[in-house]
C-alpha cells in the first residue's frame, strides 16, 4: 500500500491538468472562461501562464485550488496533483491542501490581507492550521518568515496591522504566508503587477530564490511576457479560455509559432536596439458571449483561411515539447 503511494508520488509530474473546463453561468449566457485547458508541471519547475485580461488565466489558477465562486463551476476535466485527483476530493480534504501543499499569492496586496488582524495573527493562522505550531514557536517562525522575505526589523513589524505596510511590504507578507508551510506548489496570480518596477524586481528575485531553495514548483500567472521569460521554465499562452501555444520558455519566446504569440511579442516595445513601428494585432478580443465557431483568434488573424472559420485547430506538436493550436503554424517562417 505504502509502496504504491510512494511510487505514485515519485511520478514525473507534480500537477497534471487535463481538459479543464470552468464555465460561468451569467444572466447573459454561459461564459466559457476556461475551455479545455491541459498542461502539466514537473516538480521544481516554474510554469508561466501568459495572456491578456479575460483570457482565463486567473480562473485556471483558482480552478486548481477549487476556489471558483458562483456563478462559476468546474464543468469537466481532471486535475491530478501528486497523483490524486483534486476534483474528486471532498471540501474537507481540499481545506487540508489549500495553503498547505498548494498555496496562492494574490494580485492585489492592498486587499488580500484582513485589515482587522495583525500580520502575526495572519501568518500564525496558517502555521497553526497546517503545521500545528502554536504560541512561542509560531511566533518565532512568523518572525523568521518575515526576515526571509526581506522585511526589515521583523520582530517589531510582526505586530503591525496591514494598513501600516506599503504595497510592496504587504506583498512580501503574502509571500511569507504562502511559503509558511513549504508548499509543493505555489500559484502566483500577477504577484508584482500592482507594484513599482524596482520593487517588482526585488520581489520577483526573492520569490524565485525562495521557490527554488524550497524545491517548490510555481505557476506564475501574468500578462507580462518579459517577466515570464526571465523566470519560468515553460510557458503556456492562453487566448479566450484556451491554450494556444505551449513549450519551453526559450522556444516559445524565440520561435513563437502561433500568430497571436507572434503578434504579442512584436507589439511589446523593446528596451534596446533600434526603434521601429510596433506591430499591432488589429481588432480586439471577441465578446465572450459571441465566440466565433472555429478558431477564436480567426477574426484578428493575418493567416486566417476558410478552415479557421469552421474548425477549431487542435494542439499539435511542431517540435519536441512545443505545441501550437493553429492550422497553419509551422508552415510559415516569422
Amino acid at each position: 500500500m505504502t509502496n504504491i503511494r510512494e511510487v505514485r508520488k515519485e511520478s514525473e509530474f507534480l500537477l497534471d491538468v487535463r481538459e479543464l473546463k470552468t464555465y460561468f453561468h451569467t444572466f447573459k449566457g454561459v461564459v466559457k472562461a476556461v475551455d479545455g485547458v491541459s498542461f502539466s508541471l514537473k516538480r521544481g519547475d516554474i510554469l508561466g501562464v501568459v495572456g491578456e485580461s479575460g483570457c482565463g488565466k486567473s480562473v485556471t489558477g483558482f480552478s486548481v485550488l477549487r476556489l471558483i465562486d458562483s456563478p462559476g463551476r468546474i464543468e469537466g476535466g481532471e486535475i491530478i496533483f501528486e497523483g490524486d485527483s483534486l476534483l474528486k476530493k471532498s471540501e474537507r480534504e481540499m481545506e487540508k491542501i489549500r495553503g498547505n501543499k498548494i498555496s496562492m499569492i494574490f494580485q492585489d496586496p492592498m486587499t488580500s490581507l484582513n485589515p482587522v488582524y495583525t500580520i502575526k495573527k495572519q501568518i500564525c493562522e496558517t502555521l497553526e492550521l497546517h503545521g500545528g505550531l502554536r504560541g512561542k514557536e509560531a511566533h518565532n517562525r512568523a518572525v523568521e518568515l518575515l526576515r526571509l522575505v526581506g522585511i526589515p526589523s521583523p520582530e517589531s513589524r510582526v505586530n503591525y496591522y496591514p494598513h501600516q505596510f506599503s504595497g510592496g511590504m504587504r506583498q512580501r507578507v503574502i509571500i511569507a504566508i504562502s511559503l509558511a508551510t513549504s508548499p509543493s506548489l505555489i500559484i502566483a496570480d500577477e504577484p508584482t503587477t500592482a507594484l513599482d518596477v524596482t520593487v517588482q524586481a526585488q520581489l520577483m528575485k526573492r520569490l524565485y530564490q525562495l521557490v527554488k531553495s524550497n524545491n517548490s514548483s510555481m505557476i506564475l500567472i501574468t500578462h507580462d511576457l518579459s517577466l515570464v521569460s526571465g523566470v519560468s521554465d515553460n510557458i503556456i499562452v492562453m487566448y479566450c479560455g484556451r491554450v494556444i501555444e505551449k513549450g519551453s520558455s526559450e522556444s516559445v519566446i524565440s520561435m513563437p509559432a502561433h500568430p497571436y504569440t507572434v503578434g504579442l511579442l512584436e507589439s511589446i516595445p523593446k528596451m534596446t536596439g533600434e526603434r521601429k513601428m510596433l506591430h499591432q494585432i488589429s481588432g480586439m478580443v471577441p465578446n465572450p458571449f459571441e465566440m466565433p465557431p472555429g478558431c477564436s483568434f480567426y477574426p484578428r488573424c493575418e493567416l486566417g483561411q476558410k478552415i479557421c472559420e469552421a474548425e477549431y485547430p487542435r494542439l499539435r506538436e511542431i517540435e519536441e515539447g512545443h505545441y501550437v493550436s493553429c492550422h497553419f503554424a509551422g508552415r510559415r517562417n516569422f
Binding site: 491578456e52 485580461s53 506599503s166 510592496g168 511590504m169 513599482d196 518596477v197 524596482t198 520593487v199 517588482q200 524586481a201 526585488q202 520577483m204 528575485k205 524565485y208 530564490q209 500578462h223 507580462d224 511576457l225 518579459s226 517577466l227 521569460s229 526571465g230 523566470v231 526559450e250 519566446i253 524565440s254 503578434g263 504579442l264 511579442l265 507589439s267 511589446i268 516595445p269 523593446k270 528596451m271 534596446t272 526603434r275 513601428m277 510596433l278 506591430h279 499591432q280 494585432i281 488589429s282 480586439m284 478580443v285
Partner: protein, 326 residues
C-alpha cells in the same frame, strides 16, 4: 534650445500639499509633491516623463495644465506665463493644451454618450457655428481615432478599455490643441491594445503637428515614443536628455538601477542588481539634500546636506547628482 520652436517652458515649478496635522499645537506641514521642476518642450516633440508611483509625475502634469495652482515657478506657454492665471484668463489656453488620462474607465462621464463627450468641448469653445456642425466635427475626430460612426450614440460602458482610450483621445483632439499631456495613457491596457494606441498617438502627432508630454512608468514604452526623456524621483527631476542617451548611457544612479530592474524579453533576469528598499514618501518642504541619497550606494556627506541642481553634463543631457562631477 531657445528659439521659435519652443512651445512650453516650465521653470522651477514647485507644488506643495499639506499634511494632516498630528497635534493641536503643531503647524501644518507641507510636502513637496513637485520641487524645482524645469522642463522645456519644443513643437512636435514628445517628452517622456518616467518615475515610480508617487514620484510626482502626475502632479507635475496637472500643475502644468493648471488643474493645480503652482506654489512657485513659471509655466510659460508659447511665450505667456500662465502660472498665475485665473480660470477666466486661462480659457483661451484650455483649447491649446489638452490631457489624456490614465484610467479609461473613469475618464469618460458614464452618463454622457460618446457623441456628447466629444461634441461638448467643440460647442463650449465655439469651434463650430452650430450644433450639427459641431457634431460633424466630433465625428471627424472620432473617425480619426478609429471609432465607428455607428457606435457614437453609445455610452462609455459599452466600450472596451482600448476603445475608451480612443474616445478620450478624440475628446482631447476636438478643441484642436497644440500640446497634449498623456498621463499613463496605455498602462491600463493589454499589450496588443497598447501597441494600437501608441501607434495612433504617433500618427496623430504627424497629422496634427502635436507636442506631447508622455507620462508612464513603463520604461520601454517611454523609450519607444519619446524624443527626450526625464526621470523623476520623489518630486524631483533627477535626469533628462535625448532618449538614446538616457537609455544607452544613463548617468544618474537612480536611472541606472531603474533601468536594470526592467525585465527584458528572453533574458534570465534573476541575476540583475536591484535596488533595496522601497520608494519612501515625498519629503517635507524643509528637506535639504539629495532625495535619493538614502538609497544610493555612492552617497557622500554632501549628498545628505545639499540639494543637487540639474547640470548639463554633456550636450542636452542633464543630471542632478553631486557625484557626477567626480
Amino acid at each position: 534650445m531657445a528659439g521659435e520652436d519652443l512651445l512650453l517652458d516650465v521653470r522651477n515649478m514647485t507644488k506643495k500639499f499639506p499634511l494632516a496635522r498630528t497635534g493641536i499645537f503643531e503647524k501644518i506641514k507641507y510636502v513637496n509633491a513637485v520641487k524645482n521642476f524645469s522642463v522645456s518642450i519644443k513643437r512636435k516633440e514628445i517628452f517622456g516623463l518616467v518615475g515610480e508611483s508617487g514620484c510626482g509625475k502626475s502632479t507635475a502634469a496637472r500643475t502644468i495644465i493648471r488643474l493645480y495652482e503652482p506654489d512657485e515657478g513659471k509655466i510659460i506657454y508659447d511665450g505667456t506665463d500662465i502660472s498665475r492665471f485665473a480660470e477666466k484668463e486661462l480659457r483661451p489656453y484650455r483649447k491649446k493644451m489638452q490631457m489624456v488620462f490614465q484610467n479609461p474607465y473613469s475618464s469618460l462621464n458614464p452618463r454622457h454618450t460618446v457623441k456628447e463627450i466629444v461634441t461638448q468641448p467643440i460647442m463650449f469653445h465655439k469651434l463650430a457655428k452650430n450644433r450639427s456642425e459641431a457634431e460633424e466635427k466630433a465625428m471627424y475626430y472620432l473617425d480619426k481615432v478609429g471609432v465607428l460612426r455607428s457606435q457614437v450614440d453609445r455610452y462609455p460602458h459599452q466600450f472596451s478599455g482600448g476603445q475608451r482610450q480612443r474616445i478620450s483621445i478624440a475628446r482631447a483632439l476636438a478643441v484642436a490643441p497644440d500640446f497634449i499631456i498623456a498621463d499613463e495613457p496605455v498602462s491600463a491596457l493589454d499589450v496588443s491594445i497598447q501597441a494600437q494606441i501608441l501607434n495612433l498617438l504617433l500618427d496623430l502627432r504627424e497629422e496634427f503637428s502635436l507636442s506631447f508630454m508622455f507620462i508612464a512608468h513603463d520604461l520601454a514604452v517611454v523609450r519607444h515614443v519619446s524624443d527626450r526623456v526625464g526621470i523623476m524621483y520623489l518630486g524631483c527631476l533627477v535626469e533628462y536628455g535625448p532618449y538614446s542617451r538616457i537609455f544607452e548611457n544613463p548617468l544618474h544612479p537612480y536611472t541606472k538601477t531603474l533601468l536594470s530592474a526592467v525585465p527584458v524579453l528572453g533574458k534570465r533576469s534573476m541575476e540583475s542588481v536591484v535596488l533595496s528598499g522601497e520608494v519612501p514618501s515625498a519629503p517635507t518642504e524643509d528637506f535639504t539634500g539629495c532625495v535619493f541619497a538614502h538609497r544610493c550606494i555612492r552617497h557622500t556627506e554632501q549628498c545628505l546636506k545639499q540639494t543637487p541642481v540639474l547640470k548639463e553634463i554633456e550636450s542636452e543631457h542633464f543630471i542632478a547628482c553631486w557625484s557626477a562631477d567626480k
